[in-house]
Symmetry: C2
Subunit: 376 residues, 2 copies
Amino acid sequence: MNQFKFELIHTSKISRARVGRIYTPHGIIDTPNFVAVGTNATLKGLDNTMVNSLGLQLMFCNTYHLMVHPGADVIAQAGGLHTFMNRPYPIITDSGGFQVFSLAYGTVKEELKSKGMKRHTESVIKISEEGVLFRSYRDGSPLMLTPETSIQAQKKLGADIIIPFDELPPYHIDPGLLKKSLERTHRWEERSLREHQKNQQNQALYAVVHGGIDKKLRALSCKVLSNLPFDGFAIGGSLGKNRDEMIEMLTATMPLLPPHVPNHLLGIGDLDSIKAGVSLGIDTFDSSHPTRCARHGLLFTKKGSVKILQTAYKNLHEPLDPHCLCPTCRHYTASYVHHLFKAKEITGFVLATIHNLSFMIELMKEYRQAILEGKI
Amino acid sequence: MNQFKFELIHTSKISRARVGRIYTPHGIIDTPNFVAVGTNATLKGLDNTMVNSLGLQLMFCNTYHLMVHPGADVIAQAGGLHTFMNRPYPIITDSGGFQVFSLAYGTVKEELKSKGMKRHTESVIKISEEGVLFRSYRDGSPLMLTPETSIQAQKKLGADIIIPFDELPPYHIDPGLLKKSLERTHRWEERSLREHQKNQQNQALYAVVHGGIDKKLRALSCKVLSNLPFDGFAIGGSLGKNRDEMIEMLTATMPLLPPHVPNHLLGIGDLDSIKAGVSLGIDTFDSSHPTRCARHGLLFTKKGSVKILQTAYKNLHEPLDPHCLCPTCRHYTASYVHHLFKAKEITGFVLATIHNLSFMIELMKEYRQAILEGKI
């Protein structure tokens, strides 16, 4: 029996925004929601007991990193990712594709900057129809990532939601090559689905919609993938070089996805993009943005982002946000957090991360409420 | 009314070990006990809500660092150190002397290695009878530390136990100069005491016994300082170049301290030294050793120290110490902590610090019990 289910609770009359609930073997995810990124089976600086107490409903872990260390087998022996990392709540893993193609093309940001001058690192040995052969960044040993091995690894990790192996074509790609890449990605996703179906193991498999910045290819991708029995849809690949292009692409693409299953926007989670994405009907957003901002001393408040290192906070003997109920704001003043950042104390990262994560959890609650009240 | 009181509960018949209880305005310190070092008003990586829940009875903060940032005035405006750092339990601060003299002579380790080739950094501008003029490591601004300004700063911080301003003569010092240094330290401590007496403010002031590695000078220091109304005695300065020399010096010195007040061994807290010190009648030990070890992946267990980065732990799917009740061992396996260290995740430091700190708290409880049972 598959315990994965999506319940559509409410659809806005003034936008595509919707409120729903995803049921998984490890509990509920209310949507729309923010998905924090714990690449190595931890958020940076926060142990999972704390994360659990904050009420984060879904965490994103990276299969690529976990394959490289400690290895999917070690985590399987631990009893799976939930047990390994002490998180009895829902987890989503990706396929590793994003990371191996970042090795080949550089990160999204680097690639956008480089205007398509491909950076071929020595990490990726060979990309073929079969998959990608690359070197472990840890010890240089060769690792093969294919649709089958990615799904097998994700079975060992045992997340509630998993992702098929896909190619991440760069933003600066020849249109002809983009089409070829999309076709291969579709073949890889279908192979991933077949591998998944051998042993569904109570996991949900989301398709990944590709097509880069070509709306017709995006529409084709929605059509092809909708005809396969995926449990949900993630939107991946380059959606443009800025937020406006992304919004335009999502505006065109979102109506083409089946409404009765959940969708996920991969790797985008800055506040403005989430706001836009919620109106466009995105259910979940994963991003390391809020936690990375926290470590850089950029704290989110209702009145905008705050640079905690600014001298203004040195003598502010009240919580950063007096209305915030997070453990950081309940127990510490802005002055104290400022001091920790000035003194370069790790504890500063910890407290700032607790705050930004709590902010995101609260923000998404408010979006859900606003949709229910017909305001979005 | 001074709320500071020392109750001697039990003295061993087979050693100088003793069990006592220090009452402070912020609660009780059972002795002998370990004092964790939170230099900048935080243990590295642990927020004080966590530290409080672990039951650490006394924390050591460094006046020098807190004067440089955020400044004693900022902390005073916050309502004092306890409020600033969210620690409603006892705190001890030092005078800043140790740090400014480390600037002049190098750290204890460096100085021992250098065999007395003094390192004069440009940080210390002038040492005189009045005190020490030095430059802030933060912005280069000149700061004057004297017995009076150190006590005034410690009044603003508001710790439960404070320390008079003293000179830290290097291990490699000419015997004649050591005597002169001791005499000046005594004058400085008396000036500190007078400054303290202007406004005791419910703080206890411990004397610091000096005399370096000269037993006669140590005895003289005990005698001189015992004649002044200090609330307790700390043992400072160089006690020798290794543990054996330290034990020899403490064996000679401890019987010369008045038994009805608490004593403290400054800056020494490795496990073997604590074991020896407990038998010699030391009441409290402060050291960053256990927390620093944690950050380097050296975890304490009943069976000895464990290097968590060793491959042996990669597949150990049980707590590092199955008998340990700390949050780390209750929630995480050795395999997970090993993985976090391998992946260089801050969370690894956090979990290791929680464990070592809990270990120290538990260890000291066991020492107290063993003394009460006549085993030490």
